[in-house]
């Protein structure tokens, strides 16, 4: 059981690391496109890893309720499909409207 706790803690810590990297990228990058580049991947992976860790925790602690891990698997699946799609739609809308990408030497937006 201690090994399961270590595994769950490792998955939660990795998810938190990616979540924080996404947040810092959202704060620090100079442009809209680079900000979405940072957060669109890091945040998807962070949320997926956190939910995966809780799924592993559920499998070894509450073995009598098999419906709830199914919901969590659906949640991971939906996040991994929907979040990059939303990022792509937002970025394509910004490109169609005509927001210029940041070039080296310009002022930070």
């Amino acid at each position: 059981m201690v090994l399961i706790h270590i595994l769950v803690s490792f998955l939660l810590g990795t998810g938190l690391f990616f979540t924080f990297v996404g947040s810092i990228g959202l704060l620090r990058f100079p442009d809209f496109y680079t900000r979405l580049h940072a957060t669109g991947k890091c945040d998807t992976l962070g949320a997926g890893l956190i939910i995966l860790g809780l799924l592993v925790y559920h499998f070894f602690h509450y073995t009598e309720t098999p419906l709830i891990p199914t919901k969590l698997v659906f949640l991971i699946f939906f996040i991994f499909i929907a979040n990059p799609t939303a990022t792509h739609a937002l970025m394509k809308a910004a490109y169609q409207i005509g927001i210029k990408p940041w070039r080296l030497g310009e002022k930070r937006q």
Binding site: L27, D43, F74, A89, I99
Partner: protein, 88 residues
């Protein structure tokens, strides 16, 4: 193990607070929309962690619903910003 869940929830809340800066400050509507989308994704993870911390599995249904609403809201907002109206 419960304390680890509590620490995870607090750290996700701190990350949400960091992202909230971009909602308030960020120049233009696209930065704000992207930051709201990111906050929604973090909120899903926070809801699942809260469901294990309080030992109430009903939070997972709310998390599923929140994921769908976040996705559809971002898509509708992107289409509105791109085309100018929603029904064309």
């Amino acid at each position: 193990m419960i304390s680890i869940f509590l620490a995870t929830g607090i750290l996700i809340s701190i990350a949400i607070g960091l992202s909230l800066y971009r909602v308030v400050k960020g120049p233009g509507i696209f930065n704000r929309t992207a930051a709201v989308n990111i906050i929604g994704t973090k909120t899903i993870a926070l809801l699942v962690v809260m469901g294990y911390y309080f030992e109430r599995p009903y939070f997972f249904d709310i998390a599923l619903l929140y994921a769908m609403i976040n996705f559809i809201g971002t898509l509708v907002f992107a289409k509105y910003l791109e085309k100018g109206n929603l029904w064309s």
